[in-house]
């Protein structure tokens, strides 16, 4: 009876987490990954510096128009036996130019690299559900916001891991009866310090707090209207226009949605075919990892997408060339199997990209360098 119920629950509307649990299989290491993971040897380092690289990307250029890149699968020089990763969920660059990776491997939840892929330091053993990583410069000082799916919390820390604040499940919304219903995936911090949390694996709400963590309001959530969200997996503050706006991911709807900073729904950016992760704005462009193509779900069909400041897709890395027919973006899909399940893009101050991947054989992030 119980088991019948269980299978009935799984087959009905299956929350993304169920899907994720079911599709997460421990991948056998492929030969190329084995080579990649056995720490780059002196030979590898020598080869890298002399431009003799042996992964498939050596001669391949990904992307379209003036957003084209070469892929470096061997960017990370971390020793896998000492600094393992599990899912590589998100990455940010700090004000010192270092690249921070968040993984749900509790031996080292945060790995800190320089831009060349040299591991500088690591910290964090208490974030088993480490998922979202946002950096905010608070009066000249970098602070981090970590969303933990398993702990049902958002944790604010210093750049070296000292806990400054913990947001537990938002009772004041009236939407939750217990902590387990709150599964935060991402945060965004407004210029005034307001904290926006998306509950992308829980109730798909956006919850706004002030900088002290005091509840202000909530919006989004599930439903059939345009203002609603389905798998609100990411959020960012868009400062490119006249007024700041929020861009929120509605991943299962293959879309981003714009809201005012007070939570009024403004518009939808359709991303047909693309399971977009969080929006990442750098310069005039918006970047996003696409976990997978809708046409080939749960078949390692991810790619990376780039939109200009008119919200038009201008380039897909390892994805189909973006085409607009009568103003409507045509369905997008993976074209080259370079990524499995990309989960985040980080853009550094040189314009290089770093791609962290979920459930992809525990690979370290890849780096993409622009082709000029």
């Amino acid at each position: 009876m119980l088991s019948n119920k269980k299978s009935a629950a799984l087959i009905g509307y299956t929350p993304v987490q169920n899907f994720i649990a079911k599709h997460k299989k421990s991948h056998l290491l492929k030969r190329s990954q084995f080579i990649r993971n056995t720490a780059l040897t002196a030979a590898g380092a020598a080869a890298a510096s002399s431009g003799l690289l042996a992964w498939p990307g050596t001669d391949v250029v990904f992307g379209h128009g003036n957003k084209r890149y070469r892929l470096n699968e061997q960017w990370s020089k971390a020793d896998v036996s000492r600094y393992p990763v599990n899912d590589c969920h998100e990455m940010v660059q700090d004000s010192k130019g270092r690249i921070l990776l968040l993984t749900n491997e509790t031996k080292n939840n945060i790995l800190i690299y320089d831009k060349s892929g040299k591991l500088l330091s690591s910290w964090g053993t208490e974030y088993p559900g480490a998922h979202g990583l946002t950096l905010f410069n608070e009066g000249g000082e970098d602070v981090l916001f970590i969303c933990d799916n398993n702990r049902h919390q958002v944790i604010k820390t210093t750049i070296d891991g000292r806990v400054l604040m913990t947001l537990t499940y938002p009772v004041m919304t009236g939407a939750y009866s217990k902590a387990e219903e709150f599964i935060p995936t991402e945060t965004a911090i407004a210029p005034n310090g307001d904290i926006y949390v998306v509950d992308g694996y829980g109730k798909d709400l956006v919850i706004q707090y002030n900088h002290r963590g005091e509840y202000i309001r909530h919006f989004g959530g599930r439903g059939l209207d345009d203002k609603h969200l389905r798998n609100a997996h990411g959020i960012c503050v868009d400062l490119r226009g006249a007024k700041p706006q929020l861009v929120v991911t509605s991943r299962e709807q293959n879309a981003f949605k714009r809201y005012s900073m007070d939570g009024d729904y403004l518009s939808t950016i359709a991303m047909p075919g693309a399971w977009v992760c969080r929006p990442v704005i750098a310069g005039r462009h918006l970047y996003a990892a696409v976990l997978q193509s809708s046409s080939r779900p749960w078949q390692q069909s991810g790619f990376v997408t780039i939109l200009d400041d008119n919200d038009l897709v201008v380039s897909n890395l390892a994805g189909s060339e973006p085409t607009y027919t009568h103003g409507a973006l045509q369905e997008m899909y993976q074209t080259v199997k370079a990524f499995s399940y990309p989960h985040d893009v980080c853009v550094d101050n040189d314009g290089c990209l770093y791609v962290a991947q979920w459930n992809s054989g525990k690979v370290y992030p890849y780096k993409l360098e622009p082709v000029v």
């Binding site: 079911k22 020598a46 003799l52 193509s293």
Partner: protein, 254 residues
């Protein structure tokens, strides 16, 4: 210095001897439907400069010398199998996408019998509406069952010559959807025409597929079908020991 040079040479040799290449993803295949009345139209897409889609319609594996896809394909023969793959210089060819197309078959006047699960309760008329349900069980076209047995009467109204029953079913173990354990087809009077059994295969890939029961050619006014969904999910699956789901979107008699 000499060691570095040696190592570089070694790596260079390794690289040149077995230059790996990225594999292309399969083309996007869209069609007007698997069950056509006169013709079906199939469209293949792959928006990548320099990539070519090659296809076959005779069931053979497409290669770089198979027909080059240029425009939507019209398909009008029963059980035509379209297979396509993408090729491009410097890349490993894609996996093959494959789609079978089905002619209308005998006219079915009605199907009556076991009701589907309330959550996947498309009307019985959907079983012969000529529309496929795609690959997602919640598309609204699929009838979903989780029960011991499904019994249907297929009413052909007049006595018609028939020798085959086709059931179009879904297989997606990650959603706990399996092929039925057994399908039997009987005459109106209860005479067993054919029975088939299926065992779940962990290597089978997910998707919709046709199951065929071929029987003695005869004149039939009604056929009776008894389907037993999988009663115990095998040990290799998370749902081991519990009943599997059975999803059907179309049945046809030929």
């Amino acid at each position: 210095m000499r060691i570095t040079a040696l190592l570089i040479t070694t790596v260079w040799l390794t690289a040149t001897q077995a230059q790996p290449a990225y594999q292309l993803a399969p083309p996007l295949l869209r069609s007007s439907g698997l069950f056509f009345s006169d013709t079906a139209q199939a469209t293949l897409s792959f928006a990548m400069a320099g990539a070519r889609i090659h296809y076959t319609l005779d069931g053979s594996q497409p290669t770089a010398v198979s027909a080059l896809y240029r425009q939507p394909l019209r398909i009008s023969s029963h059980r035509t199998v379209l297979k396509a793959a993408v090729f491009a210089d410097g890349y490993t060819p894609s996996a093959i996408v494959s789609q079978e197309f089905f002619a209308p078959g005998l006219r079915i006047a009605g199907v009556s019998g076991t009701q589907p699960h309330e959550r996947y309760a498309a009307p019985a008329s959907y079983l012969y509406n000529g529309q496929d349900g795609g690959t997602h069980h919640a598309s609204g076209q699929w009838l979903g069952y989780q029960c011991d047995s499904i019994e249907w009467k297929i009413d052909l109204k007049d006595k018609l010559p028939a020798s085959q029953l086709m059931l179009h079913v879904l297989y997606n173990p990650s959603a706990w959807i399996f092929l039925p354990r057994q399908i039997s087809v009987y005459t109106e009077a209860g005479y067993l025409l054919q029975t088939m059994q299926f065992t779940p295969d962990p290597k089978q890939s997910a998707g919709a597929q046709a199951l065929w029961l071929t029987f003695r050619k005869g004149q039939y006014r009604q056929l009776r079908v008894v389907i037993h969904p999988l009663d115990r999910i095998p040990d290799w699956h998370d749902g081991r020991g519990t009943p599997g789901w059975c999803f059907i979107d179309e049945l046809k008699v030929y």
